[in-house]
């Protein structure tokens, strides 16, 4: 019985989410991985993605949002800790937003624009 009630309360918001996601505007970006990070993402360097333009609270998608999105949707490897540590990008991974160091662009708070190219490079692999 309790299982039933859990399930019925569970399907409601999930279904709403699905509808909301469907209606959300999307932005097209290119995300690239190198320096060994490719292996976490199906051994593929370049991913053309269409991501929600806003997060669940209606705020514009930021790099922080993208990192979370990549973990949930794009990463096939289970070793998430090689990409994210304590809810932030793992130290030692560089991010280039349209070829500029993300430190010049506001790091995780940078608001992603349609057509952006975002490159994640690991510096952690052998020399």
């Amino acid at each position: 019985m309790s299982v039933d009630s859990q399930m019925s309360t569970g399907t409601g918001p999930a279904a709403q989410d699905a509808v909301a996601l469907h209606e959300q505007p999307k932005i097209s970006i290119v995300v690239e991985f190198s320096g060994g990070l490719e292996m976490l993402f199906s051994d593929q360097r370049r991913h053309s993605l269409s991501i929600p333009a806003v997060d669940k609270d209606g705020r514009p998608a930021t790099v922080a949002f993208l990192i979370d999105y990549l973990c949930r949707n794009t990463m096939k490897d289970s070793r998430q800790e090689l990409f994210v540590l304590e809810d932030h990008l793992r130290p030692g991974i560089l991010v280039l937003i349209n070829d500029a160091d993300w430190e010049l662009e506001g790091e995780e708070s940078y608001e992603i624009q349609n057509g952006d190219n975002i490159l994640f490079v690991s510096t952690l692999h052998g020399g």
Binding site: G36, M39, D101, L104, T123, G127
Partner: protein
């Protein structure tokens, strides 16, 4: 955020924020200043002489690829007169080096440098695949690391080259300093800060021209110059990331980017306080004499690259190495601990195995820093580590495994 103009040319858009001083630079100015700083390191430390034949330890990875590219550029720009050769090591791990060796082969064409690939089978009579077949996957990183540490020297010797440069960067040096600090090994710490290593007993000099270059800038240099490099992990390395001092270094850098060079400078300062240990720093502080050599001895090494540094997990490898050393010491072969006691180091160290050592040695004649009686490689013992491991392998005695 609006585009920031470059701090040097004031016209181009800044794309790089330098970790050492937060300077914001455009692509062109960054590449120029990176090369200028390596040139400064080379000239102030008097690393080379005109006409010198120099082997670049090349793994196809970012560090050695950047080193090869920068050295080619500087050699032409500043007329060093160097005869540069790419030297690669093939550990004999099926599939693992295939792609990286292909990268090195392309680099040889791109940089117009001759390439020599030397295999572990050629140098030691064993490929890593055969080692793993014999001893299993556990502990094989120690073999790989010990073999690799000598491989470049042995390979250079085969080619008649007396100077090997490696792509070790500031992050690598800071990491080694921290690890030796954590182990309380000041004499090794001081040796690890040297830009030039190799003793008089060894015929091959080693140096690291990228010693002051941040790993981050090396990756950015490779990116913005569109260099062709390869990144992979050793397939035999079980825990490439966990518990490594590397993680600590990267976390420090995240909080305060200058921390990496600060650790390097602290290491150099500490090295000066260690009796009988040559040391160096950036030679521009009025130092005219060439940098003295120190003994090549850079921690346990491990898997990951031909530079002899791991992609991580060095802590574990080093602990293994320590345990191995202690085991060997208890067998009466080791004299290093004794030697260090004579030098006045570690007198306050209450290490159980050391007590045991002082009871059990010397069973064999002690040797000061000399050469391995079998292969001639520098060693504080009768046999160098590689020959000792080989002896075990050749007897097919799995129990020597660590």
């Amino acid at each position: 955020m609006p585009p920031v103009p470059c701090a040097i040319c004031k016209t181009e858009r800044a794309l790089i924020k330098r970790p050492k001083n937060y300077q914001k630079l455009c692509r062109q100015c960054f590449i120029q200043i990176f090369e200028d700083e390596v040139h400064h390191t080379i000239t102030s430390s008097q690393l080379f002489f005109p006409g010198e034949k120099v082997a670049i330890g090349a793994s196809g990875g970012k560090d050695s690829t950047v080193l090869a590219s920068v050295l080619k550029t500087l050699n032409e720009r500043h007329k060093y007169g160097l005869d540069l050769v790419l030297l690669s090591i093939d550990e004999g791990i099926k599939g693992y080096r295939d792609d990286s060796l292909e990268t090195v082969k392309r680099n040889a064409v791109q940089y117009e440098m001759p390439l020599k690939i030397v295999g572990y089978d050629e140098l030691y009579g064993w490929t890593m695949d055969q080692v793993v077949e014999t001893i299993g996957k556990k502990g094989n990183c120690t073999y790989c690391g010990v073999f690799r540490r000598q491989a470049l020297d042995r390979g250079a010797k085969m080619l008649g080259i007396k100077h090997v440069v490696t792509g070790h960067n500031a992050d690598d040096v800071a990491e080694t300093i921290l690890m030796n600090l954590l182990r309380g090994d000041l004499s090794r710490l001081s040796r690890s800060t040297s830009i030039v290593t190799g003793s008089n007993a060894s015929e091959v000099k080693r140096s690291k021209p990228l010693k002051y270059a941040y790993e981050k800038e090396i990756v950015l240099y490779a990116h913005h110059k569109k260099l062709d490099y390869f990144s992979t992990e050793c397939i035999y390395s079980p825990e490439a990331f966990r518990g490594s001092a590397r993680t600590l270094i990267k976390s420090l850098e995240k909080v305060r980017p200058s921390a990496i060079l600060d650790v390097v400078r602290s290491g150099e300062d500490m090295a000066r306080l260690v009796p009988g240990q040559p040391s160096d720093s950036c030679g521009c502080k009025g130092k005219e004499a060439p940098v003295p050599k120190a003994v090549e001895d850079e921690g346990a090494g491990g898997c990951g690259s031909a530079n002899g540094r791991a992609g991580g997990g060095e802590m574990a490898a080093m602990e293994k190495q320590l345990r191995e050393n202690e085991k060997v010491a208890n067998e009466g072969l080791e004299t290093e601990v004794k030697t260090q006691k004579v030098q006045g180091q570690r007198h306050d160290r209450t290490n159980k195995s050391e007590t045991e050592v002082s009871v059990s040695v010397p069973l064999r004649p002690k040797q000061k820093l000399g050469t391995c009686e079998r292969c001639g490689y520098m060693s504080s013992q009768k046999l160098c580590q590689a020959c000792m491991l080989l002896e075990g392998l050749n007897k097919n005695r799995p129990e020597i495994r660590i």
